[in-house]
Subunit: 195 residues, 2 copies
Amino acid sequence: MGRPSASERKPYNMDAIVDVAVQVFLRRGYDGASLDQVAEAAGITKASIYYHASGKEALLARGVGRALDALFAVLDEPAAQSGPAIDRLRHVMRRTVEITATRLPEVALLLRVRGNTPTERSLVARRREFDHLVATIVAQAQAAGEVRADLDAGLVTRLLFGMLNSITEWYRPGGGLSAKDIVAAATRIAFDGLK
Amino acid sequence: MGRPSASERKPYNMDAIVDVAVQVFLRRGYDGASLDQVAEAAGITKASIYYHASGKEALLARGVGRALDALFAVLDEPAAQSGPAIDRLRHVMRRTVEITATRLPEVALLLRVRGNTPTERSLVARRREFDHLVATIVAQAQAAGEVRADLDAGLVTRLLFGMLNSITEWYRPGGGLSAKDIVAAATRIAFDGLK
């Protein structure tokens, strides 16, 4: 994504502050976290944060925005735009696992946003819009007879993405499992079932 | 579970305090929540809470314990104890959905416990023990040739329960969906797949 690595990063740039803010929000909960704690974790002053961001909500929007931007970009990829709906669904599921594995903190934070402030409500609305667009692909696959049509498309989408989202709870990069292993297992369960 | 309903409940009993504490912990995050906030939400004094519970950790243990006790009790049910492993797995999945639907706040809180204190670590350990026992049933079903054996049993368990656990994110009792609808969709996806 063109973000500099930790070693190249200048201490006060916006991306580096967002990295730290995401970690602090995950650890303490967004409501419980303060800008003072973000500043302390980043080793800078609160004034330095205000130089880059208008406040806590702006940092949340940037952090969660990274996950949402990456997920929405998937829907614009050629493999999500044309071809049988079942293949488009498979592509979106695969890319969602890959994005979750590479942007684990941002996706974890996205899943915890609850919508108490206008910023949070707008992030929740974008997440719902993504879910809705995926449910449309599921419904198209059902209409085309490519997947079973005896289950509600919205419910199927929630269950499938519940399965994929759970990755944020237990996946640790560099552990025994790769994103590829998870994609293989999740898509086999989803499309072919365990039997 | 023998818990009195809201109308019968005496204002200061332990169960009623735990009900309120679970809600406060969910809303503010366990780390961010204080006993003062629990007392205020319950409309009682902090001294009244201390009459029943030694502190915040004890309330968390009781609240999350309700979910864990109910889940472990499932593993002792006859249908989880004997018969083909695939049927035992199906039973555990069905009962997990039912317990999640009826104890939504307690299960949601269980899924958010992160393990910063000895109490939290012990709750996380009990949850892992449950996951491990379910993974054993998956492995037995694989060994018996009842479900596909080309996927790691632990990974399958995590994905299946990720799907079921996501219910806490979107299920609202009294909405259009019943626990039975969710059981039907989740078990069809899990065992037969979408195709």
